[in-house]
Amino acid sequence: MTQFLQQMVNGVVLGAMYGLIALGYTMVYGIIQLINFAHGEIFMVGAFAGLFTYARLPPSLQANPLVALPLVMLTAVVVSVGTSLMTERLAYRPLRRASRLAPLITAIGISIALQEAVRLFYPLPNGQLGAKSPVSFPRLVSGANLELGPVTVARVSLFVVVVAVGLMLALQAFVRTTRTGKAMRATAQDPDTARLMGIDTDRIIVVTFAIGAALAAVAGVMQGMRFVQVDFRIGFIAGLKAFTAAVLGGIGNITGAVLGGFVLGIVEVMATQYVPRGSQWKDVWAFVVLIAVLVFRPSGLLGERVAARA
């Protein structure tokens, strides 16, 4: 029983991370039917931007997590949002009327470009350029592990879950209650009619990209905090998993992305524990679940059937 509970905790932490990144994929797809393959790299860029800030703080501030953490998060968000908006403006917007394939390939190109940019040009603390091997990241939330009954939870893992769930709830509230949120839902439903209703769809698309990027940036910093290192390749792996989570939950559906994230995280972890030689096959099981869901519910767990656009 202890094993089950502990693995559940592991799964929830993993799932929270996947969910945060999956939200970016799902929102952008919901609004402009583009799978933003560069989103994983936005996550990675956020992590490195946070690291860059931390490395340049004076040691007195570095040692104070109450100051360092918000500063690191803030810079990560600013840089990620900036990068994402730039890609939207320069690469995706001109291609909005083009065939569906063009922005997809562009997204892959941007993903490669961002990876290489960090690999070749990130200024390391020792003065060299280029983050060719993993770079150390500060823990920021340190302290002893928490013992909650039979399970052990690392402080930073608890922080991750609290922040992730908090942000997801905030996003739900935003989309449900505010005017911009309503405009986002309208644009996702039917952009032409939304425009007829007086919604500035271009602005809404920008807002969508920005929110997705901000969530990914926070996830990036938290990833760095959990593993005390970041690497230019973490975006690729995380992006793949998060995209799977978004599809699993129903791409275009915000609650679905969160649900998909947690389901994916828990399946991976449970497969490792309970399937014989499970750790070898954990990714296989994650995709088996994805395929099974899609066979019975082609639009994902919570996805709605998308009406064909005229």
Partner: protein, 410 residues
Amino acid sequence: MQPSRFWRYPALVVVVAMLLAACGRDAEEGPTGGGDNDGEPLKTVKIGVVAPLSGGLSALGAGIKNSVDLAIRQANEENKVKGWKIELAAEDDTAKAEVGAQVATKLASDSAVAGVVGTLNSSVALQVQPILARENIVMVSPANTGVELTQGTDPNNKKRQFDNYFRVSTTDDVQGPFAANFATQDLNAKNVVTIHDKKTYGQGLVAAFTGQLTKNGGKVVAAETINPGDQDFAAVLTKIKPLNPDLIYYGGEYPEAQLLTSQAKAQGIKAPLMGGDGIYDKTYIETAKEAAEGDYCTSVGAPTEDLDSAAEFVDSYQAAGFKEDFAAYGAYAYDAANVIINAMAKVLPDAQAITPDLRKKIVDEVEKTSFDGATGKVAFDEFGDTTTKVLTVYKVTNQEWKAAKTDEFK
């Protein structure tokens, strides 16, 4: 023209320029000292290096590349290969087999290449061997430990795979059992958990270790795997914690091992982690910090600092002012480069160009190699494996890898 269509042409120019620039990007050719050839212009011959120069293993790759560079510089200064100037053609395989195949093809199609030092990863070597073998280019690895590279996959029917492939490092069928004997005799480990990263090297090492451990009476209570590139090992560690192992034996490299050991200790698992030469790097200790204390690893050969023959190499390396450390395989790469240089010195002086015939002659000369290098005696057996089977166990003591036991494996 409308303004928005006008930008197509400058954009096209920019894209073409970037493509052309990218084509020449990867190869790094080092400037090397020139020798004088009594007034005649020196002909150029290249020694290639295939190693991970970026990514998690770049510390090891950089050490290899720099050590080969050092050997080439020294050879050029002493005019070892008369009438020829040696150049370095270093390629980055990013520790991936597909990339290794691409850069090997690039080197194989370069007619000036007479030999290649590489690779680091056994999985990459499997792809590179046949490509270089087609052009008969000699390949000397400073670090491959996968047994099948020289002896094939059937231990009862050993067959040499490629006549042009040699290695100066010992194989995993020696390293694994050596570690198992240490675990049984010196660490009294009865219950062991093995983990590997499913790559050629890690998998083979764990298999060899398991075989010997079981012979010694030990027991593998769990055999788990992880993916290279993984960072989150919570699930697999939670699974093995209740088994209370005496030792965790890891087959793989340090980027994953350093995180595995930090997370294991954070979860309260007391057992030390033991690995092979893939984790023998100071990055492992720098990242895992206190969690690494008490961990073990094995590496081929005696510690570089202990060999007299190595002292010269260490001094020259430091004098040359490279940015990176020579790392675990620097001395081996230096010896590997000298194996090729010595063979070239015998074959090339009267030649005009590098012909396939000449490359074959270089391979034959390498076969007969016998000298004392930075890592000890350098000579090859009938499979292309090194005849020296010395290994060392290192332990992390006070945040440094300290040699715990050096022995010759019988």
